[in-house]
């Protein structure tokens, strides 16, 4: 018989009270874990969607000229001074340390051409990469280009040249087939002609030069700043820019979910802590005589506190485990009904499990310390009189 065994005995004796305490705290912990899990899962999902939703890093030739605007994004002046980017740079981009975070590399060569006497901006692109990058692109007519001689037009450009899918546009001697027309994007893309980048390089004698490279980086698991610096090292003479708007949106989304789940979790833990506090205060009141006896037979104040806090520790540890189980299992059943729009996954998270246990024990001990200290200070004579 030692102090821990005394605590364990009391836990076993008061099964109803123990069950109530464990349930109260476990529900609080479980709800907090569930919220955190759902928050994390939604965060991952949103981050993934955002990662796929356009470029978040631009690679530009270093230039001292004033920047131009492209696609709603501010880019450096192209084709002037500095080292031109080339399609070989794609290989260098792939070589950076965080290459696994690169989702899409979309090089572009921008040239000005004259068609039917009118100047037009032609963007040489890799159609596969471009469609992956710009998931908002929709064809209003025709189909995606599938060969080198195909051309894709923005809605305004198609209207201006009065062409539709199947029509042929002459570039000097070259004949290009209009494969499709983009639906309105509300961006500069509406006035552009998109052609295969290799054809543009060849037709305009640009060798393997590119004007800029857009990257979509999956940055939920990496600091974007690190990637920018890695790319800058890999591409000397180029300017690498993180597109702040996209990143800020991502960070905002991430912080929103974290703050929301954290706030609710803290609230739930406070409520759970209050349950423990009142239940333990009532339990101590119920055990005044027992505490008086312990004092009478030589238990020091520290011994009494230790017995009562050991009980709180075991109860809260168990509640933490049960709460984590509730919190990690319940979203698997709830999510399909409440958040069917998301494809959420809830993998075992050892850090969250440890946090649940630690938080539960902290709440349990914090709620138990006042009743324990109060009990330890009971006058043994007064306590024994309370029959």
């Amino acid at each position: 018989m030692n102090l821990i065994e005394i605590a364990a005995h009391n836990i076993r004796r008061k099964k109803g009270r123990t069950f109530f305490l464990i349930s109260g705290l476990a529900i609080g912990i479980g709800a907090a874990v569930a919220l955190t899990s759902i928050g994390d899962a939604m965060n991952r999902e949103v981050m993934h969607s955002l990662d796929e939703f356009g470029a978040n890093i631009l690679v530009l030739p270093a230039s001292e000229d004033l920047p131009l605007s492209y696609g709603g994004l501010t880019v450096s002046a192209v084709n002037t001074g500095g080292r031109m980017l080339t399609t070989d740079d794609e290989r260098r981009i792939r070589s950076i340390q965080n290459n696994q975070n690169i989702s899409t590399i979309a090089p572009k060569l921008l040239v000005v051409a004259k068609i039917k006497g009118k100047k037009v901006l032609v963007a040489g692109v890799d159609f596969g990469a471009e469609f992956r990058l710009k998931k908002w692109w929709r064809l209003s007519a025709g189909m995606k280009p599938d060969r080198s001689g195909d051309i894709l037009l923005g809605r305004d450009a198609a209207a201006q040249f009065k062409v539709s899918p199947g029509d042929v546009i002459l570039f000097g001697k070259d004949k290009l087939r209009v494969s499709g027309v983009l639906d309105s994007t509300g961006s500069q893309d509406d006035g552009l002609l998109f052609a295969d980048i290799r054809w543009v390089q060849q037709r305009f004698n640009k060798g393997n030069a590119v004007s800029l490279i857009e990257l979509s980086a999956l940055c939920s698991g990496c600091p974007i700043g690190d990637m920018v610096s890695q790319l800058s090292s890999a591409l000397p003479g180029a300017r690498v820019v993180a597109v702040k708007e996209t990143m800020e949106l991502k960070m905002q989304a991430m912080h929103y979910f974290h703050k929301f789940s954290l706030g609710i979790s803290v609230l739930l833990l406070i409520v759970a802590g209050m349950i423990i506090f009142f239940a333990m205060t009532a339990a101590v009141r119920e055990r005044v005589q027992e505490v008086g006896l312990f004092r009478a037979i030589g238990f020091r104040t520290g011994h009494i506190i230790l017995v009562l806090l050991t009980e709180a520790f075991f109860i809260s540890l168990l509640a933490g485990g049960v709460g984590y189980a509730i919190g990690i299992i319940s979203p698997r059943f709830i999510a399909p009904y409440l958040m069917s729009a998301y494809n959420l996954t809830f993998p075992f998270n050892p850090l969250l499990a440890a946090a649940a246990l630690i938080a539960s024990v902290i709440v349990g001990l914090a709620a138990g310390i006042y009743p324990a200290v109060r009990a330890s200070r009971l006058d043994p004579v007064e306590a024994l009189r309370m029959l």
């Binding site: 018989m1 005394i6 312990f294 009478a296 037979i297 030589g298 020091r300 104040t301 004579v381 024994l384």
Partner: protein, 263 residues
């Protein structure tokens, strides 16, 4: 040399502005190995006297010392150490912990004992054996009769081998026959060398002691030596194997070799 010494000890309780003197300038000495009965009407201060001798509460004024230790100068934890090392309490209401077995109840004082000779369980079983309860060591208090519960409480009081046993109306909740068995146990402990101070209402029970102290209104009004009542002791020897006395008569209190001095 006196083992317990009270010099002008008073205990005053204060509720808001009302003061009540439970003990009023009491001076008393009790020698080592004495068996003293304290008698008096309800509210006379008997239990208060026991509680300040046992370090459960502090005298408001005066000096209370046990074995040369001035209890009035000890803090709460030092007083707890004193109680653990020096005192075994036997209460009228037993105060057994209901969810612990008889054995576990007896082991309780050992739970906070820094050093124990032998295993705690063996010590507790030995103590239970002294009061004839070793056969029921695994029973919960609710499964024991009143007399058996009191004997378990006595085993708990002596498991630490304290020199001083303080019994507060130990037969108060028992019928006469069972009460006599409990008194036999206390007499056996006295024979083994324990100093015993027993509070009682019952004059017949008081005759088991060697000295009677009578208290009234917080003051000692009479103090006299008693011839030890041989009746129950003889009865004890007549029935040495009786279920109620068991090994008590064989029990010889080991010489106190406690080196721990408090204060």
């Amino acid at each position: 040399m006196s083992f317990i010494e009270l010099s002008n000890a008073s205990k005053v309780y204060q509720a808001s502005e009302d003061k009540y003197a439970a003990l009023n300038n009491i001076s008393l000495t009790i020698g080592s190995g004495e068996f003293v009965a304290v008698m008096g009407p309800s509210g006379s201060g008997k239990s208060t006297l026991l509680s300040i001798i046992g370090g459960l509460s502090r005298a408001s004024s005066g000096v209370v010392s046990v074995d040369g230790i001035d209890l009035t100068g000890l803090g709460p934890n030092r007083l707890a150490d004193f109680r653990r090392e020096y005192v075994g309490f036997v209460f009228q209401s037993f105060y057994l912990v209901p969810y612990l077995t008889a054995l576990e109840n007896v082991m309780l004082p050992l739970a906070v004992q820094p050093r124990v000779n032998g295993t705690r369980k063996d010590r507790a079983l030995t103590a239970l054996g002294k009061v004839g309860m070793d056969g029921k060591s695994q029973r919960l208090p609710s499964q024991l009769s009143g007399g058996e519960q009191e004997r378990v409480a006595i085993a708990r009081a002596l498991v630490n081998q304290p020199p001083l046993i303080l019994a507060d109306e130990p037969t108060g909740n028992l019928d006469t026959r069972t009460g006599n068995h409990v008194l036999d146990v206390l007499a056996g402990l006295h024979a083994g060398g324990h100093t015993i101070v027993m509070v009682t209402h019952n004059e017949e029970n008081a005759r088991r002691a060697g000295r009677l102290v009578e208290i009234r209104d917080g003051e000692i009004v009479n103090e006299r030596a008693l011839p030890l009542d041989k009746g129950p002791r003889d009865a004890l020897h007549v029935r040495p194997e009786g279920p109620e006395c068991a090994d008590v008569c064989k029990f010889v209190f080991r010489e106190r070799t406690r080196a721990i001095r408090l204060g």
